[in-house]
């Protein structure tokens, strides 16, 4: 069945010329694409390379789009899978053309829930396994610029629902609301959870508040709030600005949100300053974070980056924690059209690792890079990496060799392409 399905997809992918176009409305656009990923990895044994594993993944997608329909079907074959060909992803959506419009669709391994927070998300992409999601959804939008969608899906026996509403920018504010809920088949299971998230971004001319309020149904203590004041710029010149950003991240003691935005009992206050230039490629920021609950996250962080007139790219990230831990990443790379060379220093407490790298680009779409790294202490622990990459239109290839002081060299070959 799977092979016949793939065959059908490939035949359909031949475009409207291969089928009776008289039954297909003129404004339907047919497309197809084939995403191929082939990789091999191995090691160096007895003076010659040995391939230890290979993986070939090919996915053919048929796409039909029009004001009335949105159809996608992706059939895939994977060399390490027990079933040689399978339907990897599909969706069929019927839309009411014009404005306002309404759409309804069925989805398979599609429409993963995700809820953004301020910097880190309230619900991260990996909440559920994308290969396990099947369900239905309805969407609406166009009424005064508002958009909304609701999905009810089945994932490994659990019922996942998510609901999102997005407002347009209303001149002074924009509002998003999202709700995600998982009900397990066993209704009293601890795996049940609900997250409601209201995000508000406002504009009061001299400053812009961004607020994320999250809550879960049920017991007390299942709430969280993040807020930032943006666009407060005490120094604002033609050269650039310095923006002062106060933030708070508070959460109740009982929350169990799956993302990294909030942790139970969180009480964090942050004061940051960000330098941005309108004219030049330079930026810098410094943050002081105070963890009122446990002091474990209290730290001072600094970032800076610049592209100099000489073609040197600088990147600096430093964190110093209240408990005495510190880390720093400092990178400097000088580049011209055909070659680059750079040094990176990574410091984590008393460990310092230095990496030197050089690359050459004989053509616009080919780059060869070598990097050598080692610790600045007695152990040295040297490592070396050689990579040759090429990008020819929609094809990208990579050949790499990595060597660590305590292991034999590892080989990696990868070819990825999208054919349309």
């Amino acid at each position: 069945m799977s092979i016949s399905f793939i065959t059908m997809i490939i035949l359909l992918a031949g475009g409207p010329d291969s089928i009776d176009v008289s039954i297909i409305p003129e404004n339907w656009v047919f497309g197809y694409e084939c995403l191929i990923d082939a990789s091999a990895s191995g090691s160096w044994k007895s003076n010659h390379p040995v391939i230890d594993s290979t993986l070939i993944d090919a996915a053919v997608s048929v796409i039909v789009e029009s004001p009335e329909v949105d159809f996608l079907a992706t059939g895939a074959m994977r060399s390490d899978s027990t079933s040689p060909a399978h339907l990897r992803r599909a969706r069929g959506v019927v839309k009411w053309p014009g404005t306002p419009w309404i759409a309804a669709g069925i989805y398979m391994n599609d429409q993963q829930p995700f809820i953004a927070g301020l910097s880190n998300p309230v619900i991260e992409w990996d909440l559920v396994n994308i290969d396990s999601i099947q369900g239905f959804g309805v969407s609406s939008g166009g009424i005064l610029g508002f958009r909304g969608d609701y999905f009810i899906q089945l994932t490994r026996g659990d019922t996942l629902t998510h609901f999102n509403v997005h407002s347009p920018w209303m001149g002074f504010a924009g509002v998003d609301y999202a709700r995600a809920q998982i009900h397990t088949a066993d209704s009293i299971s601890d795996e049940n959870f609900t997250v409601n998230v209201l995000s508000v971004r406002g504009d009061f001319r001299y400053f812009k508040p961004w607020i994320v309020v999250a809550g879960a149904d049920g017991e007390e203590g299942r709430w969280a709030v993040s807020a930032e004041i943006r666009d407060f710029r005490p120094i604002n010149t033609r050269w650039g600005t310095i923006e002062v950003v106060p933030e708070i991240h508070f959460a109740g003691d009982e929350i169990e949100f799956p993302g990294s935005a909030f942790t139970a009992g969180q009480r964090i206050i942050v004061l940051g300053a960000i330098l941005e230039s309108r004219r030049y490629l330079v930026s810098a920021g410094i943050n002081g974070m105070l963890d009122l609950s446990s002091d474990s996250l209290s730290c001072v962080s600094a970032t800076a980056g610049m592209i100099s007139e000489e073609g040197v790219s600088w990147d600096i990230v430093c964190d110093y924690y209240a408990d005495g831990d510190y880390r720093a990443y400092i990178s400097s790379v000088t580049s011209d059209t055909y070659a680059s060379a750079g040094v990176t220093v990574e410091i984590i407490n008393d460990s310092t690792r230095v990496t030197g790298s050089a690359s050459v680009a004989p053509r616009d779409d080919v780059c060869a890079e070598v990097s050598v790294s080692g610790d600045i202490d007695d152990s040295l622990q040297p490592a070396c990496c050689l990579a040759l990459s090429a990008a020819l239109g929609p094809l990208r290839g990579l050949v790499g060799i990595e060597w660590d002081y305590d292991s034999s060299p590892l080989l990696r070959i990868n070819l990825t392409g999208l054919l349309k």
Partner: protein, 126 residues
Amino acid sequence: MTRKINLTIILLFLSTAGCSLFIPMERPLEHGNRLVLWFPGASSVQVLSDWNDWGGSVAAGGIINPVNGRMEKDASGFWSMDISDLAGGVYRYAFYVNGYKWIRDPVNAETASYEGHTVSVIMVQN
């Protein structure tokens, strides 16, 4: 002893960066509302982000599509991508260079993390 070496390295870098020889490059005006990365020798650069399913890697299959978020290179070595159509919200993003290297945006001071990588954050108001 190691702390002193670390401190010396940091001070050396910072003093070199502060040297007048290192004047920041002027921002190309034509780039407007675009993400830009100076990397003239790269064979390919993509933007992986929350807005494009991290190049397709969080979609079924988990493969970074080589065309998704692909940046265009100009003659002076800048890779750029227009982001003026993004809906309002908070997005994390990183540059994916040569098909294997993740780097944050060096001219964006705001950072977050994704899958163990330090990435950049952009807040779009509209």
